[in-house]
Structures are given as C-alpha cells and as structure tokens.
C-alpha cells in the first residue's frame, strides 16, 4: 500500500453505528471500532488516500500528529491484511488511435488522415514526436516519459503542452481517450 493511493472498504461487512462506535459483522466475526478507529473506517471512502486520512484524523483528533500518523498507518495496514480495506485500482489515462484514422511519417512530419471525411492535418516536428510517442505508449505517463526523453531541455510545462495537443486531437476525432485524470 502506498500512501497516495485511494483506499476503499471491502464489501463483506454489515455496519451499525452506536453512539459513535461502529459494529462490523461479516456473518462470522463481530468487531468494534471506537474513537479514532471509527473515524478512520468512515474516512476510507474510495477517494481518500492514506495521507489524506491521516491529515483528516489529525484535524479531528488534535495533538500528537506524529503518533497519529504512525497509528493510522498501522491500523490501515492491519485492515488491509484482514481483507477489510483494499486499494482502489488506479485508472491510468490512455490515448489510442481513433477509428477510422491512418497516419504516416513524412520526413520530420506526421500526416494524419481521417478516412471517414478525408481531413489530413500535418503534425510538424514536435507534434510528430508527440504523436509517435503516444501511439507507442500504453498510457499517458509512458508517453510523457518518451517526450521528455526526446526533449530533455523542454520547459517545466511540457506535460501540460503535450496533454493540450492530445486533447485537440481527441476533439478532432483522431485520438480516443480512456481512463480518468
């Protein structure tokens, strides 16, 4: 479990709240979560990460933030070992060739062809590099690594510029995007 991945509860437990305490029952084992433990369980909502949960528990139960971080991390680890909590599988952003689209490299440029309506935009040097990187990559992160390798001295906003170009190509019907930001 890494500290930045969202966490969610697994489905097998029936839960009842009694005066701020939580009773958990899976048909075999009964468990009681009180105080900060109940808070942690409530915060495991499929969106918050371990770090975000630690921050929220520290806010609700002030004092000894360092100890809170240690205790919450250990508690979450115990919950994961018991199969009560799991990581939310990351959905990576992926760009893939739209259908029906063809393309070819022409020197330093890439020519795109939309086979349905005949549009033929031309991607010049940098755009051509981005295109070839994205069609050769499994996801956006890999694409950005390829582009960064091709332009090691590029400005810090390279990723934003690449994404902006890819989104234009999505809007124009040459690429398809899946996953989420």
């Amino acid at each position: 479990m890494t500290a930045d991945e969202p966490l969610r509860r697994t489905e097998q437990y029936e839960v009842a709240e009694v005066d701020g305490d939580l009773l958990l029952y899976d048909g075999t084992t009964l468990q009681l979560l009180s105080g900060p433990a109940a808070t942690v369980w409530t915060l495991v909502d499929g969106h918050r990460s371990q770090n975000e949960i630690i921050g929220e528990v520290s806010r609700r139960h002030p004092g000894g933030e360092g100890q809170v971080a240690t205790d919450v991390a250990k508690f979450l680890f115990d919950l994961e070992i018991r199969g009560m909590v799991e990581r939310v599988p990351a959905l990576k952003v992926q760009y893939s060739l739209a259908d029906p689209v063809g393309w070819t490299r022409d020197g330093n440029e890439v020519l795109l062809i939309h086979l349905a309506d005949g549009r033929r935009p031309l991607l010049t040097v940098t755009g051509a590099q981005v295109w070839e990187s994205v069609v050769a990559s499994d996801d956006l992160d890999s694409c950005l690594v390829r582009v960064r390798a091709a332009y090691p001295d590029a400005p810090d906003d390279l990723a934003e510029q690449v994404v902006a170009l890819l989104e234009q190509l999505v809007d124009a019907g040459f690429l398809r995007r899946t996953g989420q930001d």
Binding site: E14, D21, Q31
Partner: protein
C-alpha cells in the same frame, strides 16, 4: 511401552507401577451433566431466530429482568445464585433467550451448573452426592427465590460481571457500542438472528442500560443490583 497404558514412577517407593486402562478407575463425572447438556442443546435448537446470550437472568415480580452476561468463568452462576437468594426470581443461569423484535425474555430454568471455580463460594448449594470432575447441578427450587411472575419478562438491565479477588464492587455504566459488542461475542448462533444480528444487538443496547462490575463479595453486589433493577 504400550500405547494407551500409563507407565508412572512411584517416587515414594522408588519402583515402577504399570497401570493398564482396565485398572483405571471410572471417571468421577455426574451422568446428569450430559443429560442437562443435551437438554440445553435442544433448547437452543428450538430457539431459531432468537438472540441467544450466554447469560444468567433474574427478575423482579413485575418482570423486570437483569441479564448477567459474560464468558464462562466470569461469575454469572455465582451472581445468579446470590441474586436469587436475595429475593429475585431465577430465570436462567445459562442462556437468555431474547425475542429479537420485542426483546421479551423466555425463561430457561434449568438446574444451575456450579462449576469447580465457583463451588467454594456456593458451598451451601453442594449436592448430597458429589462427583470430583463435574459441576454441581442445583435444582432451581433449592435456591430459595420466589416463583417466576406470570407476565412478560422485560430486560431492564444488562450487567457484565467479572469476579476478582480485588474487585471493588462498583457498578459502572458501559458504552452502548461496547455493550453490543460484548453481547454479540457472548452469544450463540448470532448469524441466525431474525432481522439481522446488528439490528437486534443495537436495539437491545438502545433500550437497556448496560453496566460492568468487578466484584469479590456477592452479597454486596446482590444488594446493589436489586436497587439498580428496581430503579431501572
């Protein structure tokens, strides 16, 4: 050495005696214990869908019932016997059967099972014939308490007792969440409770106040509990 036999050195005589299984004396157990155990199981089988708590129970003439819940060895039977001697009616010392919707208690007046650890505290209940390895089975009528009231038995007080030599005998309120948890941990067939286990457990602790007590003197506790039950 033959498996099944016991080869034991006699240190006093510095010789060796061989006991065979045929020589071994019959175990000193009360045959009634098995019968009562079978009756208990039949009682559980006939209680499908009910909340079945490992608990003793005693009640006032108006049906207000104290449920004494805890694991084996926590002092349920000792306290139940003391409370009955103090004037409360005996409901059970083994299983409190509670309707999951109304929470009405069904009495289960089996013979009290006084286990070895409690026998020194309840010497006055010792049966005429004793078996070394068996709990005493004490008929409810031997306890000297009143008869059960004819009306419905309503739980009015949950008590989680612990017998300790240094127990202070103070009645301490227990958080409802913890009470629900301990009720569930000290129950049988929880998954089969009608309407859902958690629904039933939370219903109990929202209606009935829960206390814990660590005690050494049963007489003092009995007086305390009678007062608490009367005011519940």
């Amino acid at each position: 050495m033959i498996f099944g036999d016991l080869l034991a050195p006699d240190l006093d005589n510095s010789d060796v005696r061989l006991f065979t299984s045929a020589d071994r004396p019959a175990p000193e157990t009360d045959p009634l214990v098995e019968l009562v155990s079978a009756v208990n199981m039949a009682g559980l089988d006939a209680s499908e869908g009910a909340l079945l708590l490992h608990a003793g129970g005693v009640c006032l003439p108006d049906g207000s019932t104290a449920v004494l819940c805890g694991p084996s060895g926590s002092g349920k039977t000792t306290l139940t016997a003391s409370l009955t001697a103090a004037g409360l009616a005996y409901v059970t010392d083994e299983t409190v059967r509670m309707d999951p919707a109304t929470l009405a208690v069904t009495p289960f007046r089996k013979p009290l099972s006084v286990k070895l650890g409690s026998q020194r505290l309840l010497e006055h209940l010792a049966p005429d014939e004793r078996f070394d390895d068996s709990p005493w089975l004490v008929p409810p009528q031997s306890l000297g308490g009143p008869s059960l009231p004819s009306g419905r038995l309503e739980p009015r007080l949950l008590l989680f007792p612990t017998y300790r030599d240094d127990g202070d005998g103070a009645l301490r309120p227990m958080a409802p969440g913890l009470a629900a948890y301990l009720l569930g941990k000290n129950s049988s067939r929880l998954a089969q409770v009608s309407g859902g286990a958690l629904t039933c457990l939370t219903r109990v602790v929202r209606r009935v106040p829960a206390y814990e007590i660590s005690y050494a003197d049963t007489h003092t506790v009995a007086e305390l509990l009678v007062r608490a039950l009367e005011s519940a």
